[in-house]
Symmetry: C2
Subunit: 333 residues, 2 copies
């Protein structure tokens, strides 16, 4: 049988486990030209929140359909040339134990090149989002200061390490003492601040004595406004994500801070740019070359937060949206 | 005697006439190396609101000091080589009848090249703000659609005409039937919409069948959000001014629309950039060459709203901030 998790209903604001439903159905059978995959790992990411309703640039997943997501699968039966039982592939099977594919969405993985689950994180869209944001938008220069929130996740950790490599001073923002320590000690941030701290604004001021020249925006919320206050004239803001706001059912209560935001953009002559990965696929090979090189030379740190069991995927996704994970969330089946 | 208008107090939200005070003082006397100027015209601009408190990038005018502003003066006594009685100069004497200058802030005007008051508007910072925003940030291309609000003022009117010259479709937003008609008939906009109209959003949708590729932002407020809804992916937003918000005493009531604004920047991959003119002085000569050329060829429309009398300057500035002027506001003394 095939166990799978489907979208049960549209979330009303904050995501809850009851927005999903576990089902057991007949296993799929591969037709000629197809392979049957057994899911080994699921990747979780904040983008998933947007796919559950109309708030993303991508269409919502229809109710009753399997929750989408990147997976690592093992070929258990191949009716397609080029694939054999035992092959490990990067797939998009979603939250289910078994799936068929015609091979077009599969990528064979070489377990010798890198641990396979890294293709979910620092070698996948998370690392790519960081790489595009740093190289194309935030562009930290030697001597400049870059700030990034969610700094220990796979996106933020890649941003921190790339900005250090570029010669910038890096301010890492993260939630909790453990993540703050990791950002400095393992990732090499020059300063790290706990966004839960009561004196967050004062700590940020102390960490940015020369202001902030580039902000990698992946959270939104109050952190954005705290950083805005310390941006230097002509600073760049690369808008990669807004996780603090993904759970909103509507516009939050006032006051309306858009005049403050737009006024800061004007007075400080900021450049604020959003980007999404489908526009940047032509740069993916260059990104993978970079990260594989850093991994090979052992000059690149990453962290995974592995949870066992398909049934725990909804809870882990909710935890991710609340910042409870520490490292790239991976579900091991 | 010298009549002058000074800043009486800090405005509390909306500017009122009592924030200014008229004084009559001894006339200034030119020292050696100085000239005595009689003010002929004052220029009014929305930037003045920001100089009255701490909301601008420029420092606030101290209380009791003469209100600042560009002027056109006639030299009535010269103790400086290079200036003679009768010379017409662009100056920064502020709101007073008589002023002295050591000549360093003066620019002699040739009344034959262009009507002198145009140096307040389409040949001055208003035209320059439009020119920088269009050439460096909004960058309309042939076949694209550009939208601009306050489209009949000296900034907006220059934007409309430059964008048409660049081959773009232009949507002009203005307040009132008279301005809307002027935008189409005189400035050449392809569509013009009254922002007071109850069905403004529907009119904007109808005027932008292919979306909007570039928005010249000089107002803020609800117009910004209406335009955001029609921006195309990767559209550019040039943030030149936010006149709708200059009078705010604090953040307006909710809901807070920053998540909507930032979410739109992300999903539509917008580039939102603020700019201020002090960063662009190296381009001013190129701008003046362009506009003088268009004026010489009679291919450039402009409109002035001339009010007589120094005492009417505060009222005219308040009217400007409320969009009551029609054309560049000029005070004739």
């Amino acid at each position: 049988m095939n166990r799978r998790i489907v979208v049960a209903r549209r979330p009303n604001g904050m995501l809850v486990e009851a927005d999903f439903r576990m089902e057991t159905v007949e296993p799929p059978r591969p037709a000629a030209g197809e392979v049957l995959l057994r899911t080994r790992y699921l990747s979780l990411g904040p983008y998933m929140r947007g796919r559950l309703d109309e708030s993303s640039y991508a269409p919502a997943i229809p109710l009753g359909e399997v929750m989408v997501g990147s997976t690592i699968g093992e070929v258990v039966e191949s009716r397609r040339e080029g694939f054999a039982a035992g092959d490990l592939v990067l797939a998009a099977s979603g939250w289910q134990e078994l799936a068929v594919s015609d091979g077009r969405d599969l990528r064979k993985l070489d377990p010798a090149a890198a641990p396979p689950t890294l293709w979910f994180g620092v070698l996948g869209n998370s690392g790519f989002a960081a790489w595009v944001g740093v190289t194309e938008f935030a562009r930290p220069m030697p001597g400049e200061t870059l700030a990034v929130a969610a700094a220990t996740g796979p996106v933020g950790a890649t941003v921190v390490q790339m900005a250090k490599r570029a010669g910038a001073r890096v301010i890492a923002i993260a939630g909790g003492a453990q993540k703050v320590a990791y950002a400095c000690e393992v990732l090499g941030a020059d300063a790290a601040i706990d966004h839960h701290a009561a004196d967050f604004a004062q700590q940020l001021a102390a960490a940015a004595p020369s202001g902030i020249d580039a902000y990698f925006e992946n959270v939104g919320g109050q952190v954005l406004f705290s950083v805005l206050a310390h941006l230097n004239p002509r600073a760049r803001v690369a808008v990669c994500g807004l996780i603090a706001w993904y759970d909103l059912a509507g516009a939050p209560a006032g006051p309306d801070r858009t005049p403050e935001l737009m006024g800061t953009i004007l007075r400080k002559r900021l450049r604020v740019e959003g980007y999404i990965l489908p526009d940047w696929e032509h740069r993916r090979a260059a990104f993978e070359d970079d990260v594989l090189g850093w991994l090979r030379d052992d000059r690149f740190a990453y962290k995974e937060d592995v949870v066992e069991g398909l049934a725990n995927a909804p809870k882990a996704l909710i935890g991710l949206l609340q910042g409870k994970n520490f490292g790239k969330p991976v579900i091991k089946l």
